[in-house]
């Protein structure tokens, strides 16, 4: 009796997409519900939250591409280009929306005033660290986008550039994660 195995490549593809889609949906709920929080700045908070979570999920997905780049495996260039550009755009959106919500953070009786009065180190150390390291992923992803757009398919003949691209993507992910976690700590401490 023959036992037909499942097409493992197809199954892996479906499971990866389900996992990524599920994670994105559930994580978006984490910030999407900001819209219903009792604050007149709920929209600003939600837009920043959605853009940063999206940047984090896409950035994490990109690290899986980075492993292949580091190993020198042949890469699907159009797909890599599209994901890199998407990640760059999401990081830019996170910065713009971050500036937008930062205004309220600094506003009269805003989170900064409360934190400085209650637990000043969270502003003086954590926020002053977070507001700058959160900017790092964007230029790093711009470099990644530049590399894929400039070298196009010739990437596969320069293994060192491909590896460097992988390292850039991994570095960007690290700073996305760092900024996201510190931002979440501050938002938990005092919502806008």
């Amino acid at each position: 009796m023959a036992h037909d195995a499942i097409d493992s490549q197809q199954l892996t593809k479906i499971l990866i997409r389900l996992q990524a889609g599920g994670a994105l949906t559930l994580l978006l709920m984490l910030v999407g519900f900001d819209l219903f929080f009792p604050s007149q700045y709920a929209l600003k908070a939600a837009v920043h939250g959605v853009s940063t979570i999206s940047a984090l999920v896409v950035g994490t997905f990109m690290t899986h591409r980075a492993y292949f780049l580091l190993r020198g495996a042949k890469t699907n260039y159009p797909s890599l280009r599209n994901w890199t550009l998407a990640s760059t755009f999401l990081n830019l959106l996170a910065i713009i929306s971050g500036n937008w919500i930062y205004m309220r953070y600094r506003g009269q009786d805003g989170p900064r005033d409360w934190i400085l009065q209650s637990v000043p180190d969270f502003h003086n150390i954590l926020m002053e660290f977070k507001e700058f390291v959160s900017l790092f992923p964007f230029p790093l992803m711009v470099i990644a986008s530049f590399i894929v757009l400039y070298y196009k398919n010739t990437l596969h003949i320069r293994h060192d550039i491909k590896q460097f691209l992988g390292i850039i993507i991994m570095s960007a992910w690290f700073f996305i994660m760092l900024g996201f976690v510190s931002g979440l700590i501050l938002a938990k401490l005092r919502f806008v």
């Binding site: 500036n99 937008w100 930062y102 205004m103 309220r104 953070y105 600094r106 506003g107 009269q108 009786d109 805003g110 003086n124 150390i125 002053e128 660290f129 507001e131 700058f132 390291v133 900017l135 790092f136 230029p139 790093l140 711009v142 470099i143 530049f146 590399i147 400039y150 070298y151 196009k152 398919n153 010739t154 003949i157 320069r158 060192d160 550039i161 590896q163 460097f164 390292i167 850039i168 570095s171 700073f175 760092l178």
Partner: protein, 141 residues
């Protein structure tokens, strides 16, 4: 770092395969990030320097203002200066190195070290004594 022009013949295609443009893009981005770190520490030294840094960001909507809606404040100036340094140096470096080939293997160590340095340069408990020492040399602390 090897700065010789690439001697090998292009493989399969005529499109560029020099690593110079990668170094140019990366180094300029690192300089932009360094600008963020430096302007941040400078703006904390005196009110005058804070105002000076802030003034570069006045073009940005929401850069000034008070009340519950707040403003971006001097952060707008730091971002502006960082973007200016990043893009200006990128143009220059790219023009200079677009047909140069460098060792990326050697550059990776520098790149990761620079990122770690920039990150730690934003952690006040660690960097403030250093900043105050340097500022003291210029009579600002």
């Amino acid at each position: 770092m090897n700065t010789d022009k690439q001697s090998s013949t292009p493989l399969e295609t005529d499109t560029p395969t020099y690593s110079g443009p990668v170094i140019a893009a990366t180094l300029s981005a690192l300089l932009g990030m360094l600008t963020l770190v430096v302007t941040h520490h400078i703006s904390r030294l005196t009110k005058g320097l804070d105002k000076l840094i802030h003034s570069y960001g006045y073009w940005m909507p929401g850069s000034t203002g008070t009340g519950p809606d707040g403003s971006i404040g001097n952060y707008s100036g730091k971002e502006t200066l960082a973007v200016f340094v990043w893009l200006a140096t990128w143009l220059i470096f790219h023009y200079l190195w677009r047909k140069q080939d460098f060792s990326l293997r050697a550059f990776v160590a520098f790149f990761l070290g620079a990122l770690a340095f920039l990150m730690l340069g934003l952690f006040h408990p660690l960097i403030d004594p250093v900043v105050l020492f340097i500022a003291g040399l210029f009579g600002y602390a």
